[in-house]
């Protein structure tokens, strides 16, 4: 089995910790100021209060009332929970009002008696302290501090309550806390970070240590929304063995033939090619096929403003407006430079949960890649893949590469994330722009490996197989357009 745990209700966190925080033990949440520790504590308090684990929230930097107000602002309804007697608050802010001078030894019995009373009289089962750093101020000598902290954790154990202690870190990496001792005595240590990565804020959370329990290792992206903290674990619930049975038609016979029967359900398709090779067109086809069938589709565009995108589709015979009006298609365009990847992940998650699309298009992820750091982008892609798999959605992502490079490109994680990869290219050696595409990879399927031609005609698109002669002829006279 495993040690008893309490779920936290913080999206993603219970996955990282394989079930939540250790019951009856102490958890340390460390991070620089502004990393979201208090929000973590408030969300946790709300969840525990609603699940018959009455918490006592001890405010040191901010009063209990202020913490309740902050929680209410996140929609947690903490004041209501307090009024209903499902949670309690205590203030230790007064000593911040005036100077505190030290005249000799002291211990923690003031707090201990207060906690004892809370447990005995109010049946409190969890105690959350925000924060230990503020509590132990002025900071005593390390030896005394260690004793105080031990005394605190020992009291929590003795009272049989679950403890969550917040502490401030001097930096994002390196020494864990300003006090320097807490991580040794706590069974679970969580670190929250908020760093700047190529001009972008990047929030992350890490389960640094979890005694007697397995957990996800390393940092995971997270973000703070108007509803609180949201974490994106990269390995979601076990994905059922991939069974590539269900397919849906693209609406273009040649394309269905090329993919061996149509697009695969619950798969992530990457369409890769240079600008002008027809990726957006293909994305449009994919989106339309779904919407026309009555499914819900979300199209995220990062290349052009929405009116231009919609008009371009119309011009090539793929009118989107009726589908948008019927509610089956949502087109959302964003400038990647002004985008926070965490916010985009959250927006995706909320979009999936509220609108429930079965298909998602992102055109193109390269725009996002160029506007972020390698690390952020990688975390983003993995977050997207995890999100999609968690909800069993299908997606098509377009990727821009240089002409002629389509087959060679790419970060290994992108290829791993994709169930199918289509490569598109074009040559301008004939009078017409000759667009070609082929399936490079299609997991779990037999598919054509030969190149196909994409032809834009009045009223739509045509996809037709190239004969070997045509292909060889093209290849020998190939004259790619310089960029």
């Amino acid at each position: 089995m495993g040690i008893p745990k309490l779920t936290t209700g913080i999206p993603g966190f219970d996955i990282l910790t394989h079930g939540g925080i250790p019951e009856g033990r102490a958890t340390l949440v460390a991070g620089r100021s502004g990393t979201g520790k208090t929000i973590f504590a408030l969300q946790l308090a709300a969840h525990l209060a609603r699940h018959h684990v009455p918490p006592l929230l001890v405010g040191v930097e901010e009063s209990g009332e202020d913490l309740l107000v902050t929680g209410d602002g996140l929609g947690l309804e903490l004041s209501t929970l307090r009024d209903e007697g499902k949670m309690f608050v205590a203030d230790l802010t007064r000593p911040m009002e005036g100077p505190t001078v030290v005249s000799g030894d002291y211990d923690l019995y003031g707090l201990i008696h207060r906690l004892e009373a809370a447990v005995k009289e109010r049946k409190v089962k969890a105690i959350i302290i925000d924060s230990a750093t503020a509590l132990f101020s002025p900071r005593p000598a390390p030896e005394q501090l260690r004793n105080h902290f031990f005394q605190l954790v020992h009291t929590l154990r003795r009272l049989g309550v679950t403890g969550v202690i917040l502490a401030e870190s001097p930096g994002d990496y390196g020494q864990l806390t300003t006090l320097g001792v807490e991580d040794y005595v706590c069974d679970l240590v969580v670190i929250m970070r908020n760093t700047i990565d190529l001009d972008r804020r990047r929030r992350s959370i890490e389960v640094n240590k979890y005694r007697r329990s397995g957990h996800f290792k390393g940092e995971y992206p997270c973000t703070v929304t108007t509803r609180g903290l949201v974490i994106f674990p990269q390995n979601p619930k076990e994905r059922p063995d991939f069974v590539a049975v269900e397919r849906f038609s693209s609406g273009v016979p040649g394309l269905d033939e090329m993919t061996g029967g149509g697009w695969l359900r619950n798969s992530i398709i990457i369409v890769r090619g240079p600008t002008g090779s027809g990726k957006t067109m293909l994305s449009g086809l994919y989106a339309r096929a779904g919407a026309v069938r009555g499914e819900r589709v979300v199209y995220y565009g990062f290349e052009e403003p929405r009116p231009i995108l919609v008009r371009n589709f119309e011009l090539i015979g793929m009118p989107m407006t009726p589908l948008i009006n019927s509610g089956n298609l949502r087109v959302i365009c964003r400038y990647p430079e002004s985008l926070s990847l965490e916010d985009l992940l959250v927006s995706l998650r909320i979009g999936i949960e509220e609108y429930s699309p079965s298909l998602i298009v992102m055109d193109s992820i390269s725009s996002i890649e160029h506007a972020s750091s390698e690390k952020s982008f990688r975390q983003f892609i993995i977050g997207v893949a995890a999100l999609l798999r968690e909800h069993g959605r299908s997606a098509l992502l377009t990727q821009t590469v240089m002409p002629g490079e389509a087959a060679r490109h790419t970060a290994p994680y992108l290829s791993t994330v994709a169930d199918a990869i289509l490569s598109m290219d074009y040559s301008a050696d004939s009078y017409e722009l000759d667009r070609q595409m082929r399936v490079i990879k299609m997991r779990g399927s037999s598919h054509a490996t030969n190149p196909y031609r994409l032809v834009i005609e009045p009223g739509g698109l045509k996809v037709e197989k190239l004969t070997q002669a045509e292909y060889l002829n093209k290849k020998s006279t190939k004259n790619t357009v310089p960029t």
């Binding site: 009002e97 005036g98 030290v102 000799g104 030894d105 002291y106 019995y109 003031g110 207060r114």
Partner: protein, 111 residues
């Protein structure tokens, strides 16, 4: 400060479980005996018998000596083995020493 009408109000928070608290009581008694009793009003609050009395001043540590009046509030943590903070406080507010005639502070039985 008008010391005739406004004595300093001090509260010592202690806990029977806390060894420094016991020392603080003795040290406080010893120090206050050197000063005129009508200038200082002292109360002792034992958190083991009355946990709620610590809530008003939000006491986390014991012993804590809290100056409730006059404003601003001030906290002296610790067993008073270093008497300077308290002595400086008393002298700042013009509490007069008894010059060799130790006085008992009868406001509280434990002192």
């Amino acid at each position: 400060m008008d010391r005739d009408r406004h004595p300093i109000e001090l509260v010592l928070y202690i806990s029977a479980s806390s060894p420094p608290s016991v020392r603080a009581l003795a040290n406080l008694r010893r120090i206050l005996r050197q000063y005129k009793s009508d200038h200082v009003a002292v109360d002792v609050c034992d958190l083991t018998t009355d946990p709620s009395c610590g809530e008003r001043d939000q006491i986390a540590f014991t012993p804590t000596l809290c100056k409730r009046a006059p404003d601003p509030p001030m906290w002296i943590l610790g067993d008073l083995s270093r008497p300077e903070p308290l002595i400086e406080l008393l002298e700042y507010y013009g509490v007069e020493p008894t010059h060799g005639h130790p006085q008992a502070h009868h406001r509280h039985p434990r002192l």
